[in-house]
C-alpha cells in the first residue's frame, strides 16, 4: 500500500463517467506523473484524488486512512496540497499575502515555512511585496506552488504546472520540483509536456479515455517503444 492510493476510481461531472476504474499511487519522496492525450481524464483523475469530483466507485487513501468521502478543504487539513492549473494565485494580493493565505489554517510555525519557501524560490523573497498579478508566468507558478507548500503538505499535487511557460522556465520548475521531492514530500503531477515530465518521474501513468493504459517508472515508459510512438510523438 502506497502513501497515496486512488484505487479503481470511477466518476465524472454529473453525466457520463470521465475516468473508469483508474488507479493512481504516489510514494513519499517520489514524483508520480500522469500523462496522456487530450481528454484522457488526466486532470479529472487528479481532481478525483483531491475530492473535487465525487466518485461513483473506488476509494482514495492517504497514509492508510480512507479519505474518499472528505471535501477538498478537509483533505488539505489531512496533508494534501493542490496547485490548480488556472487562477492559482490571488492576483490582487502581494506574494507574501499569497503565502500567508496558503497557511490560513495554521497557527504556529508559519514564519519558518515561509522562510523555507523563500529559500526554495529566492525570487519570491525579492518580490514579496509585489502583487502576484504583476509577476511573470513562471514566477506566478512559483507563488502558486509556494502557496500550496505553506500548509506543509505530505502530498503536493500539481495540475499542469508548466502550461504556457517557456522551456527554460519549465526546466527551472522541474528542478524546483525535484528539490521539493528531496524534502520527502510525495508529488503527484499532471503534465502536458509528457516527455520532459517523465524524465523526472519515479512513477508514470499513461491514461487513455479515463483508464490506465501504461504504468511504470518514468524511465521505463520513456524507453517503451509503444508509449513513445503513441504518446510522445516518436
Amino acid at each position: 500500500m502506497s502513501f497515496l492510493t486512488g484505487e479503481g476510481m470511477t466518476g465524472g461531472y454529473g453525466g457520463a463517467d470521465i475516468i473508469r476504474d483508474c488507479t493512481i499511487e504516489a510514494e513519499q519522496g517520489e514524483v508520480a506523473v500522469i500523462v496522456g492525450p487530450n481528454g484522457a481524464g488526466k486532470s479529472t483523475a487528479m481532481k478525483a484524488v483531491f475530492g473535487m469530483i465525487m466518485l461513483r466507485e473506488g476509494t482514495v487513501r492517504l497514509d492508510g486512512e480512507d479519505i474518499t468521502r472528505l471535501s477538498p478543504q478537509e483533505r488539505v487539513r489531512k496533508g494534501m496540497g493542490f496547485v490548480p492549473q488556472e487562477r492559482n494565485v490571488f492576483t490582487t494580493m502581494t506574494v507574501q499575502e499569497n503565502l500567508e493565505m496558503g497557511a490560513y489554517i495554521r497557527d504556529v510555525g508559519v514564519a519558518d515555512t515561509m522562510a523555507r519557501v523563500f529559500d526554495l524560490f529566492p525570487i519570491l523573497k525579492e518580490r514579496r511585496l509585489q502583487p502576484a498579478g504583476e509577476l511573470s508566468g513562471g514566477q506566478r507558478q512559483q507563488v502558486a506552488i509556494g502557496r500550496a507548500l505553506m500548509t506543509e503538505p505530505r502530498l503536493l499535487m500539481l495540475d499542469e504546472p508548466t502550461a504556457g511557460v517557456s522551456p527554460v522556465v519549465m526546466d527551472d520548475l522541474f528542478d524546483r520540483i525535484l528539490e521539493i521531492r528531496a524534502t520527502g514530500i510525495a508529488i503527484l503531477m499532471v503534465e502536458q509536456n509528457a516527455a520532459q515530465a517523465l524524465t523526472i518521474a519515479d512513477r508514470g501513468y499513461v491514461l487513455v479515455t479515463g483508464q490506465n493504459r501504461h504504468t511504470d517508472t518514468g524511465e521505463a515508459l520513456l524507453a517503451d517503444p509503444e508509449v513513445r510512438r503513441s504518446f510522445l510523438g516518436g
Binding site: 477538498p72 488539505v76 494565485v89 490582487t92 493565505m101 490560513y104 489554517i105 502557496r147
Partner: protein
C-alpha cells in the same frame, strides 16, 4: 490679487467644501455597496435603506440621550448615539442574510436573483423605517453649527467673500477618514481582512486555503452595515434625516462605486468624491466667480450655470453612463477587493 483670492474663496465655500463633505458621505456609502459586491457579487438595492435604518436608530437614541440631558456639546449628540446605529444596521444586515440571502447563496443562485431579493428587502425595510419613525424630514444635528463662520473669516482675512465651514462638514470628513483608514487597516493587516480580499479575488482558491465562506460573508455584512450607519448618520447631521432621501442616495452611491471600479474600495472612495464634486461644480452658478476674474466689460449676463440644481441627481448618472461606455471596469479595474 484680492480678486483672485475672493474668487478662490467663493469656489471653496460653494463648491469644494460642500462637495468634499458630500463626497465623504457618498464614499462611505459606496464602500458598503462595493464590499457586498466584492464578496457576494450582487448590487444590493437595499443599501440606501439600510443607511436610513441605521440613522433612524441613531436618531431615536439621540432623542433618548437628549431627553436625559446627556450630550457632548459642542459636538452633536448623534455622535455618541452612532454606535447604537451601527449595531442596528449591522444586526439588520445579518438578519437579512440569515433570513433571505443565505438561502440563495447556498444554492449558488445567479447574482441577479440576489439583486431581486434585495429589492424585496428594500421594500420591507422602507416599510419598517416609515412604520417606526414616519416619512418626515427631521433634524439630527445639535450643538455648535460652525467651525469657521463666514463673518469671522471675512474679518480675519479682509476679503469680501466669506468662507464658512460647518461643524458637520468637518466632522463628516474626519469620521469618514477614520472609517476608511480603519477599513483599509482591517483589509490589509488582519487575518480576517486578508481572507475577505482573498475570497473576493479568487473564491475557489480561498476555499482551498481553508477560508470559511460563511465567516467572510458575515464580516462583509457586518462592515457594510457599519459603513451604512456611519454614512447615513453623517449625511443626516450634515443635512437632515428623511427616509426617502436615503433611498435616492442609492443612485449616486452606485454611480460612485461603479465609477471607481465596483468591488474596489479605493475606487469607491475616489468615485464618491468625483461624483460629489461634479454635482456641486456643474450646478454652481459661476457668474459671481467670473466677475472677480474677468474685466467688467466681459461680465456675463446669465447665471453661468451649466445645469440647474434640480439636475443634481442626473449628473451622477451622466457620469455613470459615460464610465460604462468608455471604461466599464471603472477607474481602478474593479470586481475584487484589494
Amino acid at each position: 490679487m484680492t480678486d483672485v483670492a475672493n474668487a478662490i474663496v467663493l469656489l471653496l465655500n460653494f463648491v469644494i467644501v460642500p462637495g468634499v463633505a458630500y463626497g465623504s458621505q457618498l464614499a462611505l456609502g459606496a464602500l458598503g455597496v462595493t464590499l457586498i459586491f466584492g464578496i457576494l457579487r450582487f448590487a444590493n438595492f437595499a443599501h440606501g435603506d439600510v443607511m436610513a435604518f441605521g440613522t433612524m436608530v441613531v436618531l431615536l437614541t439621540t432623542w433618548w440621550f437628549q431627553g436625559m440631558g446627556v450630550g457632548i456639546a459642542p459636538l452633536p449628540t448623534a455622535l455618541i448615539a452612532l454606535p447604537f446605529g451601527i449595531v442596528g444596521a449591522a444586526a439588520f444586515n445579518l438578519a437579512a442574510d440569515r433570513v433571505v440571502f443565505r438561502f440563495y447563496r447556498r444554492r449558488k443562485s445567479p447574482p441577479v436573483i440576489l439583486l431581486i431579493a434585495s429589492v424585496g428587502v428594500m421594500f420591507a425595510l422602507q416599510g419598517i423605517v416609515r412604520f417606526i419613525i414616519g416619512p418626515d424630514d427631521r433634524r439630527l444635528a445639535d450643538g455648535a453649527r460652525f467651525i469657521i463662520k463666514a463673518s469671522e473669516f471675512k474679518a480675519a482675512t479682509g476679503l469680501k467673500e466669506g468662507l464658512a465651514i460647518k461643524l458637520s462638514q468637518g466632522l463628516t470628513l474626519g469620521v469618514a477618514a477614520i472609517a476608511v483608514a480603519a477599513l483599509f487597516w482591517f483589509l490589509h493587516r488582519t487575518r480576517a481582512g486578508k481572507a475577505m480580499r482573498a475570497y473576493s479575488d479568487n473564491e475557489d482558491l480561498a476555499l482551498l486555503s481553508g477560508v470559511s465562506p460563511d465567516r467572510v460573508v458575515f464580516y462583509a455584512w457586518l462592515i457594510a452595515g457599519t459603513l451604512a450607519a456611519v454614512a447615513g448618520t453623517m449625511y443626516g447631521i450634515d443635512k437632515s434625516y428623511k427616509p426617502f432621501t436615503y433611498f435616492q442616495l442609492l443612485l449616486p452611491i452606485f454611480a460612485s462605486a461603479i465609477l471607481g471600479g465596483i468591488g474596489h474600495p479605493i475606487g469607491a472612495v475616489a468615485g464618491g468624491f468625483i461624483v460629489a464634486l461634479s454635482e456641486t461644480a456643474v450646478t454652481y452658478a459661476y457668474k459671481k466667480f467670473l466677475r472677480y476674474l474677468v474685466p467688467e466689460s466681459w461680465e456675463p449676463s446669465g447665471l453661468m450655470q451649466l445645469l440647474s440644481t434640480d439636475y443634481k441627481l442626473a449628473i451622477s448618472f451622466v457620469i455613470l453612463v459615460v464610465v460604462l461606455l468608455v471604461r466599464p471596469t471603472g477607474i481602478f479595474r474593479g470586481r475584487v477587493l484589494s
